[in-house]
């Protein structure tokens, strides 16, 4: 009986084992595309090993296309022109590209695989995106679930960015998490500070990155990040600017306010900030400072569910309510909207801005998906 069980097990494992071996061999020889040349913007030439996606191949050669979703094909930030050496459009790319982009050979770098010599075009400023080694100078609680992270740059020791842009922080493996993940965080420090960047990290339940920041990251630890990226920055104009943010969406707004202050931009700024209860509010003192120093700036916090002992006398309800109340009173002809927060909040606010005459061309946000 036992012999029979052993024979049966051995036979089935043998069959599976041989087949698995075949697949591994096939992977080694069939999915191996040898050495390929990638020519970028007709100037730079890279020698790479084929087989991986264009995004990760470029990344391992220190050229970083923006990518907020980490290669899952949902954010469409890693668009680039592929002129030669690529097959037809993949079904996974089609929904994220417009007709004119498809005509211009624009592809998603995270979906395209390097299988032969390629010729690609990427925006010049992406050459500025670098990988930075930094040291945690400060890590402190802003609220019960948001931490401020100050990263002092080590190598290279300076960064130039536009206020409002974001970086991609790389986590290290910890506990059961064997892989390193990367997530996008907006810079909250002033763009005139070149030696460090401040980030605001909000704890997500079961988030790989945020659990790492909250439980494992300590002062003086070394971290890596890539950046700066993003099209969220102050635009030209004369009219009022409306800032709308929730939670850690505070970060880019603080950076924008620093810029308004240092450049003495003389425009009206109204900042709506949404939180759940009073314990989710932070940076109130800093905002008071800004209100004092910037002539036309006012900060409007709103609590959606104030607790009875919060003694809250300010605005209540979702952030859309005080926003709508405010928009009813003003002339919106030249107003620009700057948003940062959850996709739900952004969509709701964009709808309201539209309703009161502020179209999509005058609302700016980075949709991190």
């Amino acid at each position: 009986m036992i012999l029979k069980i052993l024979i049966t097990t051995a036979a089935m494992s043998g069959i599976s084992g041989i087949l698995a071996m075949l697949l591994v061999i096939a992977e080694r020889y069939l999915a191996n595309y040898g050495e390929c040349n990638i020519i970028i913007n007709d100037e730079k030439e890279l020698k790479v090993t084929g087989g991986a996606t264009l995004l990760s191949t470029l990344g391992s050669n220190k050229i970083f296309l923006p990518s907020a979703c980490g290669g899952r094909g949902s954010c469409a930030y890693c668009k680039c022109k592929v002129l030669e050496g690529v097959g037809q459009l993949l079904p996974t790319e089609e929904p994220l590209l417009t007709k004119s982009e498809i005509k211009d050979n624009v592809r998603l770098a995270c979906q395209v695989k390097v299988k032969q010599d390629m010729k690609i075009e990427i925006p010049e400023e992406l050459f500025n995106i670098k990988e930075y080694l930094a040291q945690v100078e400060l890590i402190k609680d802003l609220t019960h679930d948001i931490k401020l992270l100050r990263l002092k740059l080590v190598e290279p020791d300076e960064i130039k960015f536009k206020s409002g842009q974001y970086i991609q922080l790389h986590s290290k493996p910890y506990d059961d998490v064997k892989e390193s993940v990367s997530r996008a965080y907006s810079i909250s420090s002033s763009s005139s500070q070149h030696n460090y960047v401040d980030l605001m990290v909000r704890l997500m339940p079961d988030g790989i990155m945020t659990s790492w920041v909250f439980k494992h990251l300590k002062q003086n630890d070394k971290v890596k990040f890539v950046g700066p990226m993003g099209d969220f920055y102050l635009r030209e104009g004369d009219g009022e600017m409306i800032f709308i943010a929730g939670g850690s969406g505070m970060a880019p707004m603080v950076s924008l306010l620093h810029e308004i202050l240092t450049k003495k931009i003389d425009r009206k700024v109204t900042y709506f900030f949404g939180a759940v209860t009073k314990k989710d509010l932070f940076y109130l003192d800093e905002m008071k400072e800004f209100e004092k120093k910037i002539q036309n700036f006012s900060f409007v916090p709103a609590l959606s569910h104030p607790e009875s002992d919060d003694q809250w006398s300010g605005e209540t309800g979702l952030i859309t309510e005080p926003l709508e109340k405010y928009l009813k009173q003003i002339e919106t002809a030249d107003v620009q909207g700057y948003l940062c927060g959850s996709p739900g909040m952004i969509n709701a606010c964009v709808e309201i801005l539209k309703k009161y005459g502020i179209p999509g061309e005058r609302t700016f946000f980075d949709p991190f998906a």
Binding site: A11, L19, L22, A26, L90
Partner: protein, 196 residues
């Protein structure tokens, strides 16, 4: 089944014993991928390839491993493992050598793994006690029969695309009605040669 010529089995499995229209196996990819002749052709070719290879492999596995060890009852698991690996191998080969075929087929390849026509052919081969040559030709014939059926179906569906079909019958509904009528047409072949 010793006496039956392999070629008789080959032609019989295309027409009189069509795996799809007589045994109604492999319906799910038949219904979901039969909207265009071009993609149907790609899927059909893949099925022929996988069926031919897997019936040969499964023959060897059954008669040289399972039967000598008296563990024929594990044939379902063994066959499925063989089929799954063969499909994966096919996917890698297609990706390497034919980009357009990979694009048109890549997303459907996982469907072939769970295509019951493929497991069905391997099981029929055991039940009917075919020899090795008979099994391989039975696999190839069944594949060709399957492709024939899906190509005919895709041709018909492309033509009726513009027709005014009652709303309730659009899509899979009319496809099932059509496959029923096609199956009845295939009964016409049944007098030519009979295999069981």
């Amino acid at each position: 089944m010793e006496g039956l010529s392999p070629w008789v089995i080959f032609f019989a499995s295309i027409f009189t014993g069509n795996i799809l229209l007589v045994y109604f196996l492999g319906m799910c990819s038949f219904l979901s991928v039969s909207k265009q002749v071009k993609t149907s052709l790609g899927l059909g070719l893949a099925v022929i390839f996988v069926l031919t290879i897997t019936s040969a492999l499964n023959y060897l596995v059954y008669y040289y491993i399972l039967e000598p060890l008296n563990i024929e009852y594990l044939r379902f698991i063994a066959f499925i493992i063989v089929i799954a690996s063969a499909v994966q191998l096919l996917e890698m080969i297609i990706e390497r050598f034919s980009e357009p075929l990979y694009l048109n087929l890549g997303i459907f390849l996982p469907l072939i793994t769970v295509n019951c026509a493929i497991l069905g052919v391997s099981l029929f081969m055991v039940i009917r006690q075919y020899t090795f040559i008979q099994s391989v030709l039975f696999g190839a014939g069944s594949g060709i029969g399957w492709m024939l059926a899906i190509l005919a179906m895709a041709g018909i569906r492309q033509r009726i695309n513009e027709d005014r079909i009652p709303p309730a019958l659009r899509g899979p509904g009319i496809a099932l009605v059509i496959s029923g009528i096609m199956a009845m047409a295939f009964i016409g072949f049944s007098g030519i040669v009979q295999i069981q």
